[in-house]
């Protein structure tokens, strides 16, 4: 049958906070005391082509739980769901472009029947000046699988670091801290994705 054309995207605009960042819709802390896995904090800034912080962006994240299981009916694998974890977050940037969220390190998920993907967090970036949201991923520099991740292999080696969060060994506190910036444009521009079939 003929497929319907999708509806076009438009910018989220500058006035979304009251609607999208309601107390029960915002989520920068994805964990509770009973969530399984290693707690981590991911921090960074969203930057524009001038290197300036983007104060009016929102990032959304989606990830598997500690076991590598997604909380979604399409993931039917025999791995435990964690009732204390949905895997979704929504975080608005601060006036200097900073974002910060607390979650657990996701387990690896399959790429195909033979290979795994390295632990990663899927990210969508929305904001004024973005006519369509941007997709990217966050990987971790202390995960061995990162160097052989099949999706990262599709990125030219010089650009892979833009997707790999660096562990901050000087950070104190109970959570491991990782740092990564999301650079919309410019010299260290983050790799953004096109999802196949669209």
């Amino acid at each position: 049958m003929t497929r319907l054309p999708p509806t076009a995207s438009q910018t989220v605009g500058p006035f979304f906070h009251d609607a999208l960042m309601r107390p029960d819709a915002r989520c920068d802390v994805l964990v509770s005391d009973t969530t399984e896995g290693k707690r981590i904090r991911v921090e960074g800034r969203v930057l524009d082509g001038d290197g300036a912080g983007v104060p009016d962006a929102v990032i959304e994240i989606w990830q598997a739980n500690h076991h590598g299981r997604y909380n979604h009916p399409s993931d039917t694998r025999d791995l435990p769901l964690d009732p204390a974890f949905t895997g979704y977050g929504r975080i608005a940037t601060q006036s200097d472009g900073k974002f910060c969220f607390t979650t657990i390190k996701p387990g690896p998920v399959p790429f195909d029947r033979r290979r795994s993907q390295a632990p990663h967090i899927s990210v969508a970036v929305l904001g004024r000046g973005l006519l369509n949201h941007l997709y990217t991923r966050i990987y971790f520099d202390d995960e061995q699988l990162t160097t052989v991740d099949p999706v990262l292999q599709r990125v030219t080696p010089d650009r892979r670091p833009t997707l790999i969060a660096r562990r901050d060994n000087n950070a104190s506190g109970r959570d491991k801290v990782y740092r990564i910036d999301i650079v919309l444009q410019g010299a260290n521009e983050t790799v953004f994705f096109e999802i196949a079939g669209q």
């Binding site: 995207s9 438009q10 910018t11 006035f15 819709a25 009916p73 999802i195 669209q198």
Partner: protein, 245 residues
């Protein structure tokens, strides 16, 4: 708009989705990526998504004329906005969260960054949400939003619009867009609307007056269907086997 610089980087169908760089919309100039997008195949990360897990909603959430919590009703022309959310195969996308926001009847947002001298309405927040039902239908009661000036260029006014945010069934089906109203004279002048590359893509963002939705002595009806991109709304598909790249 025909003489603006338009970038080559587009995500999704190039006949539908705006390019990231559309210079007539000035904020894109420093925020549009300049490097080609890298293709990621449909793995479980893209096939799953937060759609089914997002927060519960109440009926009040869908009534923007009364959900400011003041006990009063919003000023302006009362309208019903309804339609279906579908996937590209035409199947309904049910139980998906639809979040909306808009200016009031005078064209003013409650957001503290909107400071143009149009009056605020103490009985109107301009915020709503609902879940689509089994047929993929959403329905809001609100007031017709006013146009608002935005300084993008000389004498720049956004056409009346309602912001829509939808998840759909997968990470790939996420859509943030704006609904416009048929017959609005500001549409040909608006760079954001005109960033959509074809007449068909632009027409797909415009709601039609629907007299069959209009309720006598109550509210005018507007209908707008939304088609989400991404894999079809069939669940329980096993992960696809990826062939050697």
């Amino acid at each position: 708009m025909s003489t603006t610089t338009i970038g080559e980087i587009i995500r999704g169908d190039a006949e539908v989705f705006p390019p990231y760089l559309y210079e007539a919309y000035k904020s894109t100039i420093r925020r549009a990526p300049t490097r080609a997008l890298v293709e990621v195949p449909l793995t479980l990360s893209e096939l799953t998504g937060p759609g089914p897990t997002i927060s519960a909603v109440t009926p009040d959430d869908a009534d923007l004329t009364r959900n400011a919590g003041t006990g009063g009703e919003a000023m302006g022309q009362r309208i019903i906005v309804t339609g279906r959310v579908l996937d590209a195969s035409g199947a309904p996308v049910s139980k998906t969260l639809v979040e909306v926001w808009q200016a009031n009847a005078a064209g003013r947002y409650i957001h503290r960054r909107d400071q143009w001298p149009a009056p605020l309405d103490p009985n109107f927040l301009g915020i709503g949400r609902c879940h689509t039902n089994e047929k993929g239908e959403y329905r809001f009661l609100t007031v017709m939003p006013g146009a608002y000036p935005w300084r993008n260029h000389e004498n720049a006014w956004r056409p009346a619009h309602i912001h829509f945010s939808l998840f759909g069934n997968s990470w790939a089906s996420r859509l943030v867009t704006q609904m416009y109203f048929a017959g609005d004279p500001l549409l040909p002048l608006d760079p954001i609307f005109n960033s959509a590359p074809t007449e068909r893509a632009r027409a797909g963002m415009i709601a039609a007056y629907a007299h069959d939705v209009t309720e006598p002595e109550w509210a005018l009806g507007w209908r707008w269907d939304i088609v989400l991109d991404g894999p079809d709304a069939t669940t329980f598909e096993p992960p696809r086997v990826e062939s050697q790249p």
